[in-house]
């Protein structure tokens, strides 16, 4: 199988990640639940993961990194914990449902929502943020990269706008963490939400969020914390405040190894390899009659994603044919980004997404180009 669905999850993981999970499963107690050697071993691994992620994102301290199950949980904590009825929030049409659905829910509860429009290439106009800001604007939340088109958002620019107006800035880094540099200080990011199983190359069921020092988020969950047992409330200090219950220690061990692998291999090398495959594929298919590519390819700075349709074929048919005839895994249909599909005009047809890993090969990319050439010729 040629796996080109890395924006959904990076299926091929570094051996170091697999080894770390296996080792954790035979040695880990419950982190923060005692001082026996097994428990300490888990606490050390998890703290090490916090340190690596804090270093990767330039957080003030490892304590500002809390672990969750995924970006969705992180975004729910960040969004729901930052807005009250009467507040105003700004987001964009590029967002995934993990941003939009919490916002729609809050909208029903009296939060006012403005959505920055996108053009037909999936681009936003940054001046629209300034125009949308009001005295009651409390949060700007946006993605670092569209999961549908691969278009990136200049979060440093949006962060500067948010900072100038004293607005909290929440970033969804699901598609970019581990592949693109993120500096929460330079980019003025107040809360960064990430998943472990995509660019960070860790196991599914891992993720987390960076929360700037001084921001107190009410937790979604309360419960066991390993400290302060006789307090009737969940402790408010980071990271314990956002980590009720036993953490996914085995998974976090893998996530730490994933970050370690990225640091050793070099994020630049990983990104450049993935982008090379993306451009190779893009140039190989863009002029094939009947092929329509979505997104902004006028810039070099984009996620390694190419999304397309062939004629008016149903995207699920094309994806199914790619799998059954050529053994190529892609994702068709709607990609949990309803407003982006509206902007691109692909609500009915959906779109076939090809997303690349540095573990792919040129031969695999060539095979994918040849498959699209053949499919577009057939009646």
């Amino acid at each position: 199988m040629i796996y080109l669905d890395n924006a959904a999850t990076t299926m091929q993981k570094p051996q170091a990640v697999i080894d770390a999970v296996v080792a954790a499963m035979s040695s880990m107690g419950n982190a923060g639940r005692g001082a026996n050697e097994a428990s300490l071993s888990a606490s050390r691994v998890i703290y090490d993961a916090r340190e690596r992620l804090a270093s990767l994102f330039h957080a003030e301290s490892p304590r500002q990194i809390a672990f969750t199950c995924n970006s969705t949980e992180s975004l729910n904590i960040a969004i729901k914990g930052s807005l009250r009825p009467g507040d105003h929030v700004i987001t964009t049409m590029l967002e995934h449902n993990s941003v939009l659905r919490p916002l729609y829910l809050l909208q029903e509860q009296g939060v006012d929502l403005s959505i920055i429009p996108s053009d037909a290439k999936g681009r936003i106009d940054y001046a629209d943020f300034e125009k949308a800001i009001r005295p009651e604007t409390r949060v700007i939340v946006c993605t670092h990269g569209s999961n549908l088109t691969g278009n990136k958002v200049d979060i440093a620019r949006v962060g500067a706008i948010a900072k100038a107006h004293g607005i909290r800035f929440i970033v969804d880094a699901s598609q970019t963490a581990g592949v693109f540099p993120i500096d929460v200080q330079e980019m003025h990011i107040d809360i960064l939400c990430f998943t472990g199983h995509k660019g960070l190359l860790g196991p599914q069921g891992t993720g987390g969020l960076y929360v700037r020092e001084g921001i107190s988020l009410p937790p979604l969950k309360s419960g066991g914390s390993g400290v302060d047992t006789y307090n009737t409330h969940h402790p408010q200090l980071m990271p314990t405040a956002l980590e009720a219950g036993t953490l996914n220690g085995h998974g976090i061990a893998g996530l730490a190894a994933g970050v370690g692998y990225i640091m050793e291999t070099g994020m630049d090398h990983i990104r450049e390899t993935e982008q090379r495959y993306m451009w190779m594929f893009y140039h190989g298919i863009k002029d094939i009659p009947g092929v329509k590519v979505y997104g902004d390819f006028d810039t070099q700075d984009r996620c390694p994603i190419v999304t397309l349709n062939i004629g008016d074929y149903d995207s699920s048919e094309v994806s199914d044919e790619l799998l059954m005839t050529y053994g190529i895994s892609t994702r068709p249909g709607a990609h949990c980004a309803p407003l982006m599909h509206k902007a691109l005009g692909t609500v009915e047809q959906g779109a076939v997404r090809f997303s690349f890993s540095h573990f792919n090969t040129e031969e695999e990319v060539k095979a994918a180009i040849a498959a699209i050439e053949e499919l577009s010729k057939e009646e």
Binding site: I310, Y313, D314, S315, S316, E317, V318, S319, D320, E321, T325, P332, G333, A334, H335, C336, V347, E348, Q349, G350, L375, E378, E379
Partner: protein, 78 residues
């Protein structure tokens, strides 16, 4: 692209139901496979069970036996 044929396509309320369907059909040696939901049925995402029109009775029997509720059973060009 391959020529379309009229097929039986079963849609489900959840992905969990679709996976239960695959498991049940394998266990009962009932024919078919999971495919993305065709646009003719619904724009969006999700999985459906695709098989030959003539397998309808067999499929319905398996679903009844294991207690899987379909969203709908369609006959459409796939």
């Amino acid at each position: 692209m391959r020529k379309k044929e009229l097929k039986l396509v079963v849609t489900f309320h959840t992905t969990a139901d679709a996976m239960a369907m695959e498991k049940a059909c394998k266990a009962h040696q009932a024919p078919g496979r999971l495919i993305p939901v065709p646009r003719a049925i619904s724009a969006g995402c999700g999985l459906s069970w695709c098989t030959e029109l003539s397998d309808r009775e067999c499929i319905e029997k398996v679903m009844k036996e294991v207690g899987i509720e379909q969203e709908a059973i369609h006959e459409c060009m796939v």
